[in-house]
Point group: C2
Chain length 361, copies 2
C-alpha cells in the first residue's frame, strides 16, 4: 500500500521511520511527503509542496496527517476521505471538532478513519473504548491526558522545584512547547476528553462547553499543604454521564496516594473508565513524544493493512454538557496565604475567586 | 450469526445474558448450549448434551468454549475450528498448551480463534499486545494476573487478617475456588504469563518450564516486616527476553509504594509491558469474575461479527526458557523467625530453603 504523509515534523519523521521498519513485514511504503520546500534536502524526490499532489495520486490508498493546526488538516482529511483514501491522524483539535463528519465521510467512501494517537498519545485507548461500548455502557471517564503538566507536577513534587523551574525542565526535556499555554490552561486536555467522551457517550460535544481551569496558580507551598493533607495533586479530566446530561471538567485534582492515578508520573498519561458490566479499566502509557505517538499512528496503519480498522461511531444522544447533575464534589479552595479549606457545594464562580483550587477525588 | 455455547456455569451464563443484550444491535443469537442434563430446566430446548449437536450444526458459525478443564475443551476447540466455526475461549489451560495449533487451524479453515479472556480476564490486553508487536518489540512483561491471590494479599494488608482468614474472605466473596491450590501456588498465573509471553516473544513456551513459587508461606509478621522496609507485597509474573533466551518467573514480589502495581488492589489485575518504541504500557482491570470475563468474550464475538478478529501469531523463535540471563535480581529472604534479609545473586535452591521469599522489583 502506498502512503502519503502530510507533515515531516518530529512526529512525521517518527512515522516515516516506523513505516520503513513495517515494510519488512507488510507491502507498505511512504511514497510522498507534503511539507515546506526547506525539507527538500531531507526528503529528495519524495517531497511534495502541494497537497493535491498526494490527494490526486490514485496510487496512494492511505494518508497520515500530522501537520498540526486546524484549517489545512481539515481540508486534507476531508478531501482525502472523499477521494477514497483512508486517513490516520493524531490531530486532537480537528478530531474533537469534526469526529462525526470524518467518520461519516469514511463510511460513505468505504475507507477508514483512524485517530488512536489523538487522545492518550501512545496509549491504545480509543480502540478498547470503542470495543467496550459495544458490549456495555461507559458512563464515566477519568484521564491524566497531558504529558507536559503531569511532568511539571511530578518534578515540583519530587525535586522540590518551583512551578517556573519545573516548566523550564519540561521545555529542556522536550515535554513542553515554546508556548505552553494550551497545555497549562487545559485546552489540550479539553480536546482529548471531548474525543473520549463523544465516543463513550455516543453524542457530539463542543470543546467550548467543557469546563477547564489551569494549573498555573500552583506553587510549592500549596503543593506542600496538599501533601500534608495526605493527597497527591494531579491534573485530571473527568467526564460523567446520566441520561443525556453530562458534566465534563478539566481541573487540578487531589487523589489519595493509593489511587491508581497517584502512580502516574512524569510524561505518562492514564485513562480510567468504568464499564457497566466489567467495572474499572485503566490504560497507562506515554501520552506524548514523537515515537510513542508515531507508534500509535503506525498501529492504526496496521489495522488498515489488515482490514480491521472499521469504527462505527454513533451520534445518537443529544448531550447537554455541564448541566450540573452532581454538585456533590468536594473542593480544596486556597486563599491568598496559600492555606486551603475543604468545601462542598461551592459554585464555579466562587472557585474562580480563589488563588487556586483542586477537586478532591 | 448463530452461536453455540459450551458450558453454562457462571461465565457461560454471563455470556448468554450479554449475547442477549448484543442482539439488540447485531444479528446474533445463542441457539444451542452444551451442558449436563441437569440444566434442562434452565435452558429448555436450547440444551444439548452431546458436543456433536453443536459441532455438526452447519448453521452455527461461532462457538464459545467456557467448559474448564483440558481434554474436552481441546476436542471442542479443534473439532469446531476444523468444521469451519470461529472459536472464542477463556480457557488458559488449553490456550497456553496449544496456542500455535489453534491459530494455525483457524487460518487453515479461514475462521477466527479468539482468547482475550484467557489472560487478564476482563482487561483488554491480548489485542493491544498483538497490535503492539507489529510495530515494535516487546521484550519484557510484568503482570498481577490472579484475582484470588491479589485479593488475599490486599485483605491481609488492609484488614490485618491472617492468611487463612483472608483466604476465607476470598472464598466467601466468590474470588477463590473451593480448591484454591492452582491460584495459591501460581499455576494459574503460569498459564497466563505463558500466553502473553508466547505472543510477545513469538515462540512456544511450555508451562512446565516456567518457574513458580507460591504465596502460602506468607504470614502477618512477614508482611509487616516487608511493609516496614518500605515495600508493598504483590504476587507478580515477570517475563524477560534477550535474543532467544528468556527468564519467566512467578513469585512474591516487593514493589515500592509509588510503583504502578502498588495501587492494584483486591481482585484487580494489571499487565505492564515495555515496547521498544513506545515505552511502558499498563492495562488494569478486573482479572476475574463472571461478568468481566464474559464481557471480554463478547468483545471477541463483536470483533468476529465485524470481521476484524484476525490474529497472526508467529512461532519464529526457538525460545530457551529460564536460561538465567540475568542473575542481578535482588531477593528478600525470610528465616524461621520471620526476619528477612536482602540478598543478591542467590540461587533458586537457596531461595527454596527459606521460610518465604520475595523478589525486590
Amino acid at each position: 500500500m502506498k502512503i502519503g504523509l502530510f507533515g515531516y515534523g518530529v512526529i512525521g519523521r517518527g512515522v516515516y521511520t516506523l513505516v520503513g521498519e513495517l515494510s519488512k513485514n507488510y507491502d507498505v511504503e511512504v511514497t510522498k511527503v507534503f511539507d515546506l520546500p526547506i525539507k527538500k534536502e531531507l526528503l529528495g524526490d519524495k517531497l511534495v509542496t502541494e497537497i493535491d499532489e498526494i490527494i490526486n495520486d490514485k496510487d496512494i490508498k492511505a494518508v497520515v496527517e500530522v501537520l498540526g493546526g486546524h484549517d489545512l488538516p481539515y481540508e486534507v482529511i476531508t478531501r482525502s476521505l472523499k477521494s477514497g483514501k483512508s486517513v490516520i491522524t493524531a490531530n486532537k483539535e480537528v478530531v474533537s471538532n469534526h469526529l462525526e463528519e470524518f467518520i461519516n465521510l469514511a463510511h460513505e467512501n468505504n475507507v477508514s478513519f483512524c485517530f488512536e494517537a489523538s487522545a492518550g498519545g501512545g496509549i491504545p485507548v480509543i480502540r478498547p473504548l470503542i470495543d467496550n461500548i459495544k458490549v456495555n455502557d461507559v458512563n464515566n471517564i477519568y484521564g491524566i491526558l497531558n504529558g507536559t503538566t503531569n511532568y511539571i507536577l511530578t518534578r515540583m513534587d519530587e525535586d522540590d522545584l518551583s512551578f517556573d523551574d519545573a516548566l523550564q525542565q519540561a521545555k529542556i526535556n522536550g515535554f513542553a512547547e515554546a508556548n505552553p499555554t494550551a497545555d497549562l490552561e487545559g485546552l489540550d486536555i479539553v480536546r482529548k476528553i471531548n474525543i473520549l467522551s463523544s465516543l463513550a457517550f455516543k453524542g457530539n460535544i463542543k470543546n467550548d462547553d467543557i469546563y477547564h481551569y489551569g494549573i498555573t496558580g500552583i506553587n510549592k507551598e500549596i503543593l506542600n499543604n496538599i501533601k500534608s493533607e495526605g493527597y497527591v495533586l494531579k491534573y485530571v479530566a473527568s467526564s460523567l454521564r446520566v441520561n443525556d446530561d453530562c458534566v465534563i471538567r478539566v481541573e487540578p485534582t487531589m487523589v489519595k496516594p493509593n489511587h491508581p492515578f497517584a502512580a502516574i508520573k512524569n510524561e505518562f498519561n492514564a485513562v480510567l473508565f468504568t464499564g457497566s458490566t466489567n467495572g474499572d479499566l485503566m490504560f497507562y502509557g506515554k501520552g506524548a513524544g514523537s515515537i510513542p505517538t508515531a507508534t500509535a499512528i503506525v498501529s492504526d496503519l496496521v489495522s488498515i493493512l489488515e482490514n480491521r480498522a472499521y469504527i462505527d461511531y454513533k451520534n445518537e444522544r443529544k448531550l447537554v454538557v455541564n448541566k450540573n447533575i452532581s454538585n456533590k464534589y468536594m473542593y480544596y479552595v486556597v486563599d491568598e496565604n496559600n492555606n486551603g479549606k475543604f468545601i462542598e457545594n461551592v459554585s464555579d464562580d466562587d472557585l474562580l475567586k480563589s488563588k487556586f483550587y483542586a477537586r478532591v477525588l
